[in-house]
């Protein structure tokens, strides 16, 4: 908004002049957008003219006299209601009667001001309307932004689901048409790949559900004292077969139990994601070192790998939804691209964060800090940012 456009509709010339004088040079502070705007005031002498004018150039605020010859202020309001106008109307009433005010508000007026009024009273009413207007516009912009983010998310999700589906379909056509001959052995790799891609889709859907539950705050969270070292051990056990096959050593460093009051499932998601990444993005014969440390009031989880690492630019994008670092080194590695976004969101729920330090071809270290969940935190932790998605 460069200037607040005000249209004054009153059939008394003296009234219009008084209003023009009161508003001349007015500047309105808009705290919501941290800006100050001036006003541009136009005048018309009847309801009919007011309607014609708003059709051509809608104002931000219409100052509308209730009692006019010809169309009355209320008639104009009715007509405006039919058109679904977006500006605010302030009714100028002859007498401060409750009925007339109520009637005007019912017909869509934002506010009213009773004659006679002082210039200050008029400016006050205008300021209030302007603030309301900016708040309304900001809310609309935010809603639009949320819709866009949501649309982008669904579009990328669609791609991430369609790609493996296409791979599976193509392999199935080969099988159906016996393209590689009659012997089932010839189809071993296609069948393996179908299973692998189907598992990838399953993982994506599971991650998506985790993410949605965390973001929507719908998930029932149960807080209890959990030994983080124990959960880390379980996460390492889960990846042990894959790690062993690739000669990757796994180690856990924890000085006995490190107890954190938290939701066990959320802690498992954090550790499983970090540990499985550390194996996936490692080199054959590498190592994964997990450390669980107390640093009151935080618990710190450090997961260090000796893998392919990444550049500073890649690290910077890492925690966004669906970001998977795509390069020649990661081409054969599958993932949903949601894991680290989920880890970051969970860390946020526990008043903590995730940090990443990485050197290409040397390895990556993820450090997660978590504070114990308090009784009160269960609710206010869900004060989410405006960008959150409910898919």
């Amino acid at each position: 908004m460069n200037a607040l456009r005000i249209l004054v509709a009153d059939d008394e010339a003296g009234m219009r002049h008084g209003v023009m004088r009161a508003l001349r040079g007015l500047s309105v502070r808009l705290p919501d957008v941290d800006a100050t705007v001036g006003v541009e005031v136009e005048e018309v002498a009847s309801g009919e003219e007011a309607l014609a004018r708003v059709d051509v150039q809608p104002p931000d605020i219409l100052l509308l006299d209730q009692k006019m010859t010809g169309m009355s202020g209320l008639d104009v309001l009715h007509a405006l209601q039919q058109r679904g106008s977006e500006f605010l109307t302030i009714m100028i009433t002859a007498f401060a009667t409750i009925e007339s005010a109520v009637q005007a508000t019912k017909c869509g007026a934002f506010d009213f001001i009773a004659k006679p009024f002082t210039p200050d009273e008029l400016r006050g009413v205008i300021r209030k309307a302007a603030e309301h207007l900016t708040a309304q516009r900001r809310a609309r912009e935010l809603a639009e932004e949320n819709r866009r983010v949501r649309f982008d998310f669904i579009r990328v999700l669609g791609h991430e689901l369609k790609t493996p589906l296409a791979a599976i379909e193509n392999y199935l056509y080969l099988l159906r048409d016996r393209t590689a001959g009659e012997y089932v052995e010839a189809y071993e790799r296609p069948i393996q790949r179908c299973l692998c891609r189907a598992q990838g889709m399953r993982k994506l859907i599971a991650d998506l559900l985790d993410l949605t539950r965390i973001e929507s705050g719908q998930r029932q969270r149960t807080f209890e004292a959990v030994d983080v070292a124990e959960i880390a051990r379980e996460a390492l056990e889960l990846v042990a077969p894959v790690a062993e096959a690739r000669g990757i050593a796994l180690a856990l460093a924890a000085d006995g139990p490190v107890v954190l009051r938290c939701d066990r499932a959320e802690l498992e998601i954090v550790l499983n994601n970090l540990v499985s990444n550390a194996v996936k993005y490692n080199r054959d014969g590498g190592r994964v070192d997990v450390a669980v440390q107390r640093d009151d009031p935080y618990v710190r989880i450090v997961v260090r790998d000796t893998g392919i690492g990444m550049s500073a630019e890649e690290s910077a994008r890492l925690f966004q939804d669906f970001v998977r670092i795509r390069n020649e080194k990661t081409r054969e590695i599958t993932g949903s691209g949601l894991g680290l976004a989920i880890v970051k969101k969970i860390a946020g729920l526990y008043g903590g964060d995730v940090a990443v330090a990485s050197t290409p071809d040397a390895g990556t270290t993820f450090t997660v800090t978590l504070k114990p969940a308090g009784e009160a935190q269960a609710d206010d932790a869900f004060a989410r940012d405006d960008q959150s998605l409910a898919v």
Binding site: R155, G158, H159, K162, T163, P164, A166, A167, E169, N170, Y171, Y173, L174, D177, T179, A180, G181, R189, P190, R193, R197, R326, N327, E328, R331, E332
Partner: protein, 147 residues
């Protein structure tokens, strides 16, 4: 190259042409699921899983036809590759394969000479593609070049 005497037999099938085909896509399963039927049809298939590998394969041997996925690591990797191939081998038929139409609503085509000049490709196929459809396109473009 095994040129077939089409005038005697009517139209050759793609199989009879026994082509050297360069297949470029960053999805290993897409490569594999096209390589198998193309080889079964008698062609020699070279697969490349990215722009770099594709350039290397091209420099080793210019294929009879190239099938390129539009979006690889960099969003327009396919276009860049197309330009590079056409610059070195203007007669090489290039078919671009992509999911871009169904996902972005962007509508590409290579139906008119202007579009082909802009895209630098001879045809544009939208994923998902069926093998029969691909085989038909390969045949059409290789024969266009040879006739």
């Amino acid at each position: 190259m095994h040129a077939t005497d089409r005038s005697a037999q009517g139209h050759a099938t793609a199989a009879e042409l026994r082509l050297n085909i360069l297949l470029v896509d960053d999805d290993p399963d897409f490569l594999e699921s096209l390589r198998i039927p193309l080889e079964a049809a008698g062609h020699t298939v070279t697969t490349a899983d990215g722009v770099k590998a594709a350039r290397a394969a091209f420099d080793q041997q210019v294929p009879d036809i190239a099938l390129i996925d539009l979006m690889m690591e960099d969003a327009d990797g396919g276009f860049t590759l197309c330009h590079a191939f056409k610059a070195k081998a203007p007669q090489l038929p290039v078919i671009i394969i992509s999911a871009v139409t169904s996902e972005t609503g962007l509508d590409f085509d290579a139906a008119t000479p202007e579009e082909r000049a802009w895209i630098k490709a001879d045809a544009f196929l939208a994923k998902p593609i069926r093998f029969e459809q691909l085989e038909r396109e390969i045949l059409r473009h290789v024969q266009n070049v040879r006739s």
